[in-house]
């Protein structure tokens, strides 16, 4: 049996991340969600995720900075950024800092799944 991809969603919109976890589970992913950068770092350190989906604008935190800290723990862990205000600068900064792709909110679940599979294949 094929192993489910383990996905960590990092977003301070709790209703959004909880719903995404359920939708991904229905599609065969093993997803978990956290609200803050420090919770994300803790989970990445102790669990074996295949991919992280990270909001670029967390409350009180810069998502790109959180991604850099994730990469210091697990350099090859793919990160897809979520953004609601996709300025050219923030997308470029995120991609330069090591994100493999980004998704603009509102999320297209099928687009997200394609990007998750592509990202996991790169791991």
């Amino acid at each position: 049996m094929e192993k489910s991809l383990k996905v960590l969603i990092v977003d301070d919109e709790v209703d959004l991340s909880a719903t995404l976890v359920e939708r991904l589970a229905i599609r065969g992913f093993d997803a978990a969600a956290v609200e803050t950068g420090s919770q994300a770092l803790d989970r990445v350190q102790h669990d074996d995720f295949d991919i992280v989906v990270l909001d670029i604008k967390l409350k009180g935190e810069d998502g790109v900075d959180v991604m850099r800290r994730i990469k210091r723990i697990k350099q090859n862990l793919p990160v897809v950024l979520l953004t609601g205000h996709m300025s050219k600068e923030s997308s470029e900064e995120g991609l330069r800092a090591g994100a493999i792709d980004y998704i603009i909110k509102p999320i297209d679940i099928e687009d997200l799944i394609v990007k998750l599979r592509q990202a996991a294949a790169l791991k």
Binding site: E13, D15, L16, T19, L20, E22, R23, I26, K57, K59, G60, G84, H85, K105, P106, I107, I109
Partner: protein, 224 residues
């Protein structure tokens, strides 16, 4: 490309910038709401497809999803009501304005800015029944301009204390908290604020003690 905004007189430019910040903030908040509702609608569809294929979904699940959608709709309605109030603040150059409502209007529309910086904004003292005859839009602009001084990431707590001055019918808003901005930059900003306050017939006083600043905005007001 022609930059029309740069041709505006400085006052108009500052007003456009204020309106732009409010709009940017509100549109970001609406995008968040739409994103949550869109995912909830997607999950409803996922579950109804599953139910059609013979996998039963408990009634509590439908009810909980309905409650989650209602919560987001209420969040959106609250912002729309405040956005509407804010938009109408530029209808008249002078009107009787409820100070507490104007401050709440600014607080709701800029709430995300404070949350993003993990800055808590607390109000003490009552503004109930306090009103003033002024430019409703400019009052909001200076209230936000005062609060904006604390959005440089240094403050976890900003307090707004409302005090009624018994003699002369004035209300004072004392806004205090830490900042990390350089003293010379802050001085320039305070000069601009002082001019803004004067333009609506108010006075602005400023004190600095280390990284703590205190802005006192004294507004001519009436109590109903």
């Amino acid at each position: 490309m022609t930059n029309n905004a740069s041709k505006c007189p400085s006052g108009s430019r500052a007003q456009i910038e204020f309106y732009g910040r409010i709009m940017a903030n509100v549109s970001h908040e609406f995008n968040n709401i739409i994103t949550v509702i869109s995912e909830l609608a997607g999950l409803l569809k996922d579950l109804s497809l599953a139910a059609r294929k013979g996998r039963p979904v408990p009634n509590e699940k439908w009810e909980s999803l309905s409650d989650s959608i209602s919560k987001q709709v209420a969040r959106g309605k609250h912002i729309i009501a405040h956005m509407n109030r804010f938009s109408h603040s530029s209808d008249e150059p002078r009107a009787q304005v409820d100070l507490g409502q104007a401050l709440e209007n600014v607080r709701v529309l800029t709430d995300r800015l404070f949350k993003n910086r993990q800055t808590n904004l607390s109000l003490s003292g009552s503004l109930e029944g306090i009103s003033l005859s002024t430019d409703p839009f400019e009052l909001r602009r200076i209230l936000f301009a005062c609060l904006d001084r604390f959005l440089d990431g240094a403050a976890t707590e900003v307090t707004v204390v409302a005090k009624r001055q018994e003699d002369g019918g004035k209300t004072e808003l004392e806004i205090s908290g830490p900042v990390s901005i350089a003293a010379e930059d802050l001085a320039g900003q305070i000069d601009v604020l002082t001019e803004q306050a004067r333009a609506i017939g108010s006075q602005l006083f400023f004190e600095q003690n280390g990284n703590q600043i205190r802005i006192r905005l004294v507004l001519p007001s009436n109590r109903e």
